[in-house]
């Protein structure tokens, strides 16, 4: 029966069963990922984000939640223009992190 609305699917993440290898590796090589305050400046200025779903803030969140496939798909959109790095209030070297994830 269609009520014109529905319940959204559960976004429950089981932290015990997810694979965090990529994120842990990233934390080792780029400790500054820990300093992100999720302000979204990177997303607001993103050149690729203008045309696609690309958002570094969400990308980091996906990796923290072990959603690697989704993250890998999103990162392909990046143009490496570096605007995110320039606007980051925490001075995180986002461009380097993006490059490291794809390696």
């Amino acid at each position: 029966m269609d009520f014109g609305f529905c319940l959204s699917p559960s976004s429950h993440v089981k932290m015990d069963s997810i694979d965090l290898t990529t994120f842990n590796r990233l934390k080792e090589t780029n400790p500054d990922v820990n300093t992100c305050i999720a302000c979204g400046s990177c997303t607001a200025t993103c050149t690729a984000g203008n045309f696609t779903e690309m958002s570094f803030r969400r990308l980091l969140l996906m990796l923290q939640r072990g959603k690697e496939d989704e993250a890998n798909k999103m990162i392909q959109r990046c143009m490496l223009c570096g605007k995110c790095t320039l606007v980051c209030p925490r001075g995180i070297n986002i461009r380097k992190i993006l490059l490291d994830i794809t390696r």
């Binding site: 500054d32 200025t45 050149t47 203008n50 045309f51 696609t52 890998n72 990162i75 392909q76 959109r77 990046c78 143009m79 490496l80 223009c81 570096g82 605007k83 320039l86 606007v87 001075g91 070297n93 461009r95 380097k96 490059l99 994830i101 794809t102 390696r103």
Partner: protein, 580 residues
């Protein structure tokens, strides 16, 4: 003079020389065989083309022996190199001239193989075996003393480099230190041996030569034979394709680790960062230290200053670039979404308006919208028929992607932008960002469309009388952005524009010596703190003559300087729009 034709002390030299010659021959074959087929053809052609052949001869003497570029940068070091290189070359030449004019072997039966053998060492130990005429004796002593004077400067440089105007020098390992001492002692030993004829010194002289020659292939002195090959390859117009093969290999071995690039590098603000300079990169890559050379390649700002001031013009940035491109990626970019993008430029196609000027702000200008506003104001005032290609967001020009070594991915953006620009029907393309300007000039194929940076464009508008500006008395200093200045030598246009607006004062380092702002997209590894140190140094350099405002022509420089500058930082378009 001793009337012999052979003495065992010549053997160390003969052995060493034979080793070096064999090594160089094998190395030559290796480099040539690694060159792509087309490059080999290019090399062959360049050797017989009169123009390049003449350039070869000119540079083989001018560069290898005199090094005009070192003379221009630091006359003391210029003399040091000339004294040693030219002096040594001359005593070898004179030695051979004496061999064939004075005929020292007359009366002694030496022919065939034995004759060739004696000719091999005679010019080096001439004085032991035969008598010189006064003229030759004078010349030999003159050049020998010239070399020793050069070595004295080298010793002073080693003890206290600041006396000869060098702040930072290379730090060498055991092999390089040992060979340096061998080189320093060769000539004093020779002088003493010739003057006193004590056997021990002839032996020392010969053994020193053996040490020098045996270590030469494994140290920086390999630049002596390699440089000649490098000059030939450079004039043939060959480019680097792989980081450690062919032309790049010749470049690696030609680098004398002179360290001139260390003082020039913007990163040399402290000891730790000065290890990221090109001289160290070349050394690490030469020693096959892949990890370190990769790290330095990705840390470099790619400002191009080391290439500009290099006495040999070694394209170290090209090698770093190819080193970056050699890294494999697990996840490849997918920019297929670009195909469906239509921007303002494309939409305007529907109303059939073809603008004369197309303005591409670029990513960095999107972050500094005041530049775009100023440009609009200027173009409106000049009554230009223009259109802004990326007012509501455009596609990146591709240079940042290219700098990461991902050539194919950058091509996707380049193709899409080319398509959009061609569709607009504009005849001129004006850019506000030197980063874009470089890639548009180098990689885009926009036949029939004139590409201009806004400094050139504004200069033209002022010269044609399309805009009028008021001259004030503000003191400006101009910062040359790397990709505009060093890459395309656009030095005079911005200065003309600033001069028509007010007073222009000099920075401490200008034009091709300009110091990178520290914000460059070329570097991946530098942290914010390290970048800040570079920026502070660059700002101090610009504040040398106490200007009222810093003017630049790059949105990235503008943004970087604004964080650290004690005075206002403005783009050239901004100051023009203020005075319209």
């Amino acid at each position: 003079m001793n009337s012999q034709i052979f003495h065992p002390f010549v053997l160390p030299f003969v052995l060493g020389m034979a080793f070096v010659l064999t090594y160089c021959f094998v190395g030559l074959i290796r480099v040539i065989s690694q060159l792509p087929k087309d490059d080999r053809k290019k090399l062959g052609r360049s050797l017989v083309t009169p123009k390049t052949a003449w350039a070869n001869i000119r540079d083989l003497f001018g560069d290898c022996l005199f090094h005009v570029k070192i003379w221009k940068r630091n006359p003391v070091l210029g003399y040091m190199h000339t004294a040693i290189a030219f002096g040594w070359f001359m005593i070898i030449v004179i030695g051979h001239v004496m061999l064939f004019t004075l005929k020292p072997l007359q009366g002694v039966e030496v022919e065939g193989l034995q004759g060739m053998f004696t000719n091999f060492y005679y010019p080096i130990f001439f004085k032991y075996f035969a008598e010189e005429t006064p003229v030759f004796a004078f010349l030999m002593d003159f050049f020998l003393l010239m070399i020793i004077s050069g070595i004295l400067i080298a010793v002073v440089k080693k003890i206290h480099s600041k006396i000869v105007g060098v702040k930072r020098v290379m730090h060498f390992g055991f092999a390089d230190t040992l060979i340096r001492f061998a080189l320093w002692t060769i000539f004093p030993f020779r002088l003493i041996a010739e003057k006193t004829n004590i056997m021990a010194f002839w032996w020392l002289y010969s053994i020193d030569l053996l040490i020098f020659m045996c270590m030469l292939p494994f140290t920086r002195y390999m630049h002596i034979p390699t440089e000649a090959l490098f000059i030939l390859l450079r004039h043939a117009g060959i480019k680097v394709t792989e980081p450690r093969k062919g032309y790049a290999l010749a470049e690696l071995y030609s680098c004398p680790s002179c360290g001139l690039c260390i003082d020039a590098c913007p990163m040399s603000v402290n000891d730790k960062m000065s290890g990221n300079t090109s001289a160290y990169f070349m050394k690490k890559l030469r020693n096959n230290d892949t990890e370190e050379s990769q790290r330095i390649a990705e840390t470099c700002l790619m400002c191009g200053k080391c290439v500009k001031i290099c006495p040999l013009s070694i394209e170290s940035c090209d090698i770093k670039f190819s080193q970056r491109a050699a890294v494999p990626y697990n996840i490849n970019s997918d920019h297929s979404y670009l195909n469906v993008i239509s921007t303002e430029a494309e939409k305007s196609q529907t109303n059939n308006h073809k603008p004369h000027v197309l303005y591409f702000a670029g990513c960095m200008t999107q972050l500094t919208p005041k530049i775009m506003r100023a440009m609009k104001q200027i173009m409106d005032k000049a009554g230009e028929d223009y259109q802004i290609m990326d007012e509501n967001g455009g596609i990146c020009c591709g240079r940042p992607m290219l700098l990461s070594g991902k050539v194919a991915e950058a091509k996707a953006m380049i193709e899409k932008n080319t398509e959009l620009i061609k569709k607009s029907g504009a005849k001129r393309l004006v850019l506000s960002c030197p980063i874009c300007y470089k890639v548009f000039k180098d990689e885009y194929h926009l036949e029939g469309i004139e590409i201009l940076h806004h400094t050139q464009y504004i200069e033209e508008l002022i010269k044609c009388g399309k805009i009028y500006v008021d001259r004030g008395d503000t003191k400006y200093v101009y910062h040359d952005p790397c990709e505009l200045g060093r890459a395309f030598e656009i030095y005079d246009e911005p200065r003309y524009v600033i001069h028509s607006l007010g007073q222009i004062v000099d920075a401490k380092s200008e034009k091709e010596n300009s110091i990178c702002c520290g914000g460059s997209l070329g570097s991946f590894n530098l942290t914010q703190q390290e970048r800040d140190a570079i920026t502070e140094n660059s700002v101090n350099d610009l504040m040398f003559n106490n200007p009222d405002e810093i003017v630049t022509a790059c949105p990235l420089c503008l943004k970087t300087f604004a964080r650290k500058s004690p005075v206002k930082v403005k783009d050239i378009a901004e100051i023009v729009s203020e005075k319209l």
